[in-house]
Every structure is written in C-alpha cells, then in structure tokens.
C-alpha cells in the first residue's frame, strides 16, 4: 500500500467530501466495465456503484475503518462485487453448471436508523447553517475547541462553547415542541 493510498484513507476517515468524490470519479469507468462481464445493465451498475461508494463513506467516515490489507480501490470493488452477486443471486442467474464466483467477505453494513435518530435527523436538518456547522464540528468531526475556533473563524473558546450550547438547546426544544415530550 503506497503513501498516496494511506493519505487517501486519512482523508476518507477525516470525512473529506472531495476525497469521496475523487474516488467516485477515479474508479467509475473501470467498475462499469468490470460489472458488464456479469450481464448487469449500465443503470443497475451505476446504482450499485453509488451504493458501494456510500458504504465506503459509512465504513471510513463514520466507523473510522483502517485497512489491514489491500487498497481503497480493492475495498470498494469488493463491496461492489458483493452487491452484483447479490443481485444475480436474486435473479437466479447462477446455474448449477456455472462456476460460482468466490463471494468476498461481507463488509459491515449499516443497520436501519432508530426512531430517535430519524427524528434527530429531521430536526437537525431544519436548524440554521451556523448551528449545523458548529454541531457537526463538535459531534461529527470530534474536533477540539481550539480546532473549532481556528477552523470556524470564531472569536474565542467561550464563543464556541456558548454557540454550541445555544444550538443544542435549540435542537432539543425543536424536538420537544413537535413530540410534546417534557424534559
């Protein structure tokens, strides 16, 4: 695994959206050409490829995946291959006589979000951009206060803490007022 791939992995774990777009563009054609061998239509392959890239995001950006072997590309193709085989199995495309391709190890899949998470998602989405930005930096990217002051161009640590508290309170109140729950 080269340095460039290690650097890419760091960017993916760091939730760098441009890195995910670069991966998407870099391997798209090769994946489409690869998938055609199995007689899957172009549109279906595009859907599979997009889902594979979303799974890549979940595993690296959300779960902090570290590859023990292989590259980002082989990992992505592994996910995509599994999804292609899944589709073909559904359609019973593998006849007895055909050699059954080796099914790669199933990568971790994301369980369905709970009711609480779906509710939070909805109310988080309706917050203003400044609240979303600070809550993402704190809770999603896990940045320290000093990092948030610098990257977010805030005045100082106290401003950041006050803004975070205000936004969290706003989010909680938004959920309470919709669900009628008392704190």
């Amino acid at each position: 695994m080269g340095n460039m791939d290690l650097e890419l992995e760091d960017r993916l774990r760091g939730k760098d959206r441009e890195a995910f777009k670069e991966v998407y563009i870099s391997y798209r054609e090769e994946f489409l050409a690869f998938g055609r061998k199995y007689g899957v239509s172009r549109n279906e392959l595009l859907d599979i490829y997009q889902e594979a890239n979303i799974a890549l995001y979940r595993n690296f950006a959300v779960k902090g995946k570290k590859l023990e072997s292989g590259t980002v590309k082989t990992y992505l193709f592994g996910i995509g291959k599994f999804k292609i085989f899944d589709l073909l199995k559904e359609r019973k495309r593998f006849k007895q006589a055909d050699a059954v391709p080796e099914i790669p190890q199933i990568p971790d899949y994301h369980p369905e979000p709970s009711v609480e998470v779906r509710l939070l998602r909805k109310h988080f989405g309706s917050l203003g951009e400044s609240c979303k930005k600070i809550l993402k930096m704190f809770y999603y990217r896990g940045l320290a206060i000093a990092e948030i002051v610098e990257q977010g161009n805030y005045k100082d640590a106290n401003t950041v803490k006050a803004q975070k508290s205000r936004c969290l309170k706003k989010l909680r109140e938004s959920i309470k007022s919709r669900t009628g729950k008392n704190g």
């Binding site: 979303i54 998470v117 809550l135």
Partner: protein, 201 residues
Amino acid sequence: MDRHDDIMEYLLGKLQEEDKNAFEKEMENNPALKAEVKEISDLREAIALEEEEALRNDFKQLEKGKTKPKVFLWILIPLVLLGLILGSIYFLKTESQEEIYASYYEPFPNALHPIVRGETDKSEKNQIFLAYEAGDFNIAAMGLEQLLKEENNPELRFYYALSLQGNKDYEDAMSIFNELENADFDYSSHVLWYDVLIGFG
C-alpha cells in the same frame, strides 16, 4: 461536570481497552451519563445520515455532468469532422473516397469488454472481444450476432456495427448505426462519426 471530552473519546474509539471498559461500567451506574452518551451517539448518527444524503447528491451531480454531452457538442463535433472530410475532398481532388475513408478510419477501441492480458477466461464474450481487438472483425461480427440473441443492448449493437464496418459490410453496419442514432448509451456520441465515415467506404 462537563464530560463532553470523555464521551467523545469513547464514541470515537480513542480509549484504550481498559479505559473503555471502565467508562462503560460507569455508564451502567450513572443513568444521566448513559443518557448523555446515547443522545450524542444518536446526534452523530443523524448528522452522518445528512452527510450521506449530501454525498448521494454529489454523486448524482457528477452523473448529470457525465450523462450527455451538451447538445451543441453532439451537433458540433460531427459537423467539424464532416467539414474536415469535405474540405479534404475539395482541396485534394485527386484523392478517391476510398483513400479518404482509409485515412480517417480507425477501429473504435474495445472499452466495453476490456481483455486482461494473461486472463484465462475462455467465455464466448472474451473470445469475441479478443477477435475484435485483433482486428478479426468477421469472427467478432459472427460472435456478436449470436450474442445479441441472448443479450440485446445498444452497447453490443454498437460493437456489432463496428465489427461489420471493420469487415467492410458497410450497408449492414450503416443500418445498425442509423438505428442507434437516437439511443442513449455510453458511446452514443460516436455513432454519428462512424455513420458519416461509412459513406466514404
């Protein structure tokens, strides 16, 4: 007491095994802490869902940028190429149509079913595209004609037409190119070029 840093270290998986176990034990005995951890964990998941949706939109935008070349390019490129050919005819009157065809014709590369050197796959499709890459257009055309009976799609029909063209079956090739002119597929922008060129073959 603000436990934000401890909670984030736990949720980000930064605690050593011993500290992680101690924190989880503390949560079991401290319902308020447990509730706070759950709230932050749920919030992280909710934000991740929003980011995921934004990424899906990014991918859709990338696809929109790739799907069709702008309409004017569909018209402009073949017109420019046609202009070059007609210009060649006008200025180089001694050239026959066959010579013009020969100087502009180049087989379209095998982008549909790339053959990996050293691959031992002896499937029918592999053999067909091996023949195509080797310039055995007669074999490629016969193989694709059969393959299209099981797997009929614009991409394969395009390569069938290219194989017919390579084998100098211009009329049959032109007939398929004409059918494909309005089809939406990966190589649709190249159909008009080969269709125009065949006129000189």
